[in-house]
Each structure stands twice: as structure tokens, then as C-alpha cells.
Symmetry: C2
Subunit: 200 residues, 2 copies
């Protein structure tokens, strides 16, 4: 699922410009997808040459013309096929967890900041979800997938926040003991020191 497919998917919901798509990704898809202009605009251009979308340009006086993209029948079909064929992977990329893994190398102050900021970010995202939930509740016919995916995000974010709240003190205590200033590494080797896990 690359950005081209992402655009195709969003366009099954309604026509949009590149700008609209970015906005849409930032709101509805924000917790499991990102795409910048640098990917979206070239993607739309390619999709147009492939006949999967049509472009309706509406010149505006002053501002640059708005290019509204519309899904074609071929585009819809292409997206459905991608949906059925693609292996639905799920990956996390987190400098946050990486930093905490190396907690013993960080000053306590920095550790606190990192945790506070992450919790704040989680709460920001949770309140976004809550707002969406309210808006959709009154509006008619929210697609099932949207509700489900939002609920998933809420469940996972809540669990993360709870874990951080409960266990953060464990990290802090260790960080204080850091005054022992990391003994010079006696040429250890990572080799085999690591639990043979291998989940494919």
C-alpha cells in the first residue's frame, strides 16, 4: 500500500484535491498513515496518466487553480484488487521507545520530559478521537470501518497511557542510579547474547 493506493482509497469516499487529501490523511488516517505533499502530488499525476483518476481543473482568480481529482471505474477496480491482494502489515516506528530502551544513558530530567510529552501527545490524539466520535454520532451513516478503526486507536492509546502512568517510576529510579557513570565496556559482544526469537 503505497501513497498511490492511499489516494485511490480516499477518492472512493469523494472527489478531492491534493490538498484535501493531505488534510483527510491528517485527520481520519492520522494514527496509522502519513503522506506528505511530496508523495501525494506526484502520485496523483501518475494516477492521472494511468487513467485511474480524472483531473478537473477549476481556475481561480488570484490563487493557483484547484485541481479536483475524481476516481474512474478503472481506479475503483484497481483499489479493490489492491485491498484484496495486499498483505495487511502493521508496524510501529518509535524513537520514543528507542530512547527509553537506553534510559540508563539519559539524565533523569530528560527522561521525565520524554514521558510527559508522550503522554500529552496521547491525550491530544485521544481527544481528537473523542471529537470525531461525537461528530459522527449525530451525523448519519458513518461507515463501519471508520468507527472500528477509531475504536482500535482509542483502545491502544488508552492502554499505552495507562502503562506509562503506572510504570514510569520504575524508569526514573534506575536513571537516578546512573551516577555510576557506565563502566567502560569490557569488549563484550552482542553475538548470541540475544534470545533467539524470530517471529516471521
Amino acid at each position: 500500500m503505497n501513497v498511490k493506493d492511499l489516494c485511490l482509497g480516499a477518492l472512493t469516499i469523494g472527489d478531492a484535491s491534493g490538498y484535501d487529501l493531505k488534510k483527510f490523511f491528517e485527520t481520519t488516517f492520522s494514527h496509522f498513515c502519513v503522506a506528505g505533499y511530496g508523495s501525494i502530488y506526484p502520485a496523483l499525476a501518475e494516477l492521472a496518466t494511468e487513467g485511474l483518476v480524472r483531473c478537473h481543473e477549476q481556475p481561480q482568480q488570484g490563487r493557483p487553480g484547484r485541481k479536483l481529482y475524481q476516481l474512474t471505474a478503472a481506479g475503483r477496480k484497481a483499489f479493490l484488487q489492491k485491498l484484496e491482494k495486499t498483505a495487511p502489515r502493521h508496524t510501529v516506528k518509535s524513537d520514543f521507545l528507542l530512547s527509553l530502551y537506553f534510559a540508563h544513558l539519559l539524565p533523569p530530567q530528560r527522561l521525565e520530559t520524554i514521558l510527559d510529552e508522550r503522554i500529552a501527545e496521547i491525550e491530544r490524539q485521544l481527544s481528537c478521537h473523542a471529537r470525531c466520535r461525537r461528530q459522527s454520532a449525530q451525523g448519519s451513516g458513518e461507515p463501519v470501518g471508520e468507527r472500528f478503526v477509531r475504536g482500535f486507536g482509542e483502545a491502544v492509546l488508552s492502554a499505552a497511557r495507562e502503562y506509562l502512568r503506572v510504570h514510569r517510576r520504575e524508569l526514573a529510579s534506575a536513571s537516578t542510579a546512573r551516577s555510576r557513570h557506565t563502566p567502560n565496556s569490557p569488549r563484550r559482544t552482542l553475538r548470541g547474547g540475544l534470545h533467539a526469537l524470530h517471529h516471521s
Copy 2:
């Protein structure tokens, strides 16, 4: 935090070859980081030219010589600085959630498969964590960060599994109702149809 920094970090734990590093990332960092050979080998080469790591090549008969990399003082310092300066982001990239968002476009059968496979994968990862936990419990002096990060992973994975188990039927029911075969889109527009969220 790019792959170069990742390697630096891993090398604070012990010396390693590129191969060892990949193995290490796949086990200990698997749930929040990925790095393939295509990133690791060039990264190590660059780090060596920058003097942040030293390379000790040990020729082996038959097999290609093993290149053991060791962190230098400069390398250690560089990593600590990166740790303190970097904004610790946390992002999820999920074709899984994306697919479920479009549940109304998928045949029920496919939906079931996607959910089953995700749950199976979650359980695989959880049992990996459990194994690590046991191994570390008997071994001495597991770094605090490692335990914390593993616990975080377990908390989040458990929550995800629970949510999927409880709510999957909601999706299925909707998917069955899909027989109405998506009415031809009446030229809707994404524009503004979307909750102004904007969490920075």
C-alpha cells in the same frame, strides 16, 4: 534517529557485525524498529569513515570474513547527544487498519482472514515477549529500559488483541450488508467533510 544512530546505540551494548546487528534489531527492537541489510551495511561503512566505530576484520576460511564493529569514544558521545537532542516520535504504519477502514468494500471472507492473521501475529509477538521475559528473569542485570519497553509492548499488544476479539463481529455484520453493492458515487467531495482535528 536513522539507521546510523540505531547501530551506534546497539553498539553501546557490545561489539557486533552487521549480521549481528540485524539479528539484534529483529529480536529486541522488533516491535518499534526495523532495519534491513540495505541500510545497516552502508551505515556501518559511513560510521567507520567518520571515526565513530572501528572495524576489526577477522578472516575466516571458507566464509566471508567477519567484520566486528566496536564503538569509539567519539561514537559513544555522538549517540548520547543524538539521544538528548532528538524529538522522540512514535508513529504507526498499518495497512491492516487501512484495510479495515474500507471494510465495506471487502468480501466478508477476506475480512475474517485479515482479522485472524492479525490476531495470530499479535499472539506470536506476545509469546516472544514472554520468552524474553523468562530469559531475562534468570539472567542477571537486565537494563531497566529493556524491561520497560517490553512491558509497554505487551500492554499495547494485549489491548489490541482484546479489542479485536470483542469488536470483530461489528465489522462482519456490516460486511454482510455489503450486498447493496456500493451505490454509484454521486460526485461527492471530500472537501471540508472532515472534522477539523489538527493535532500537531
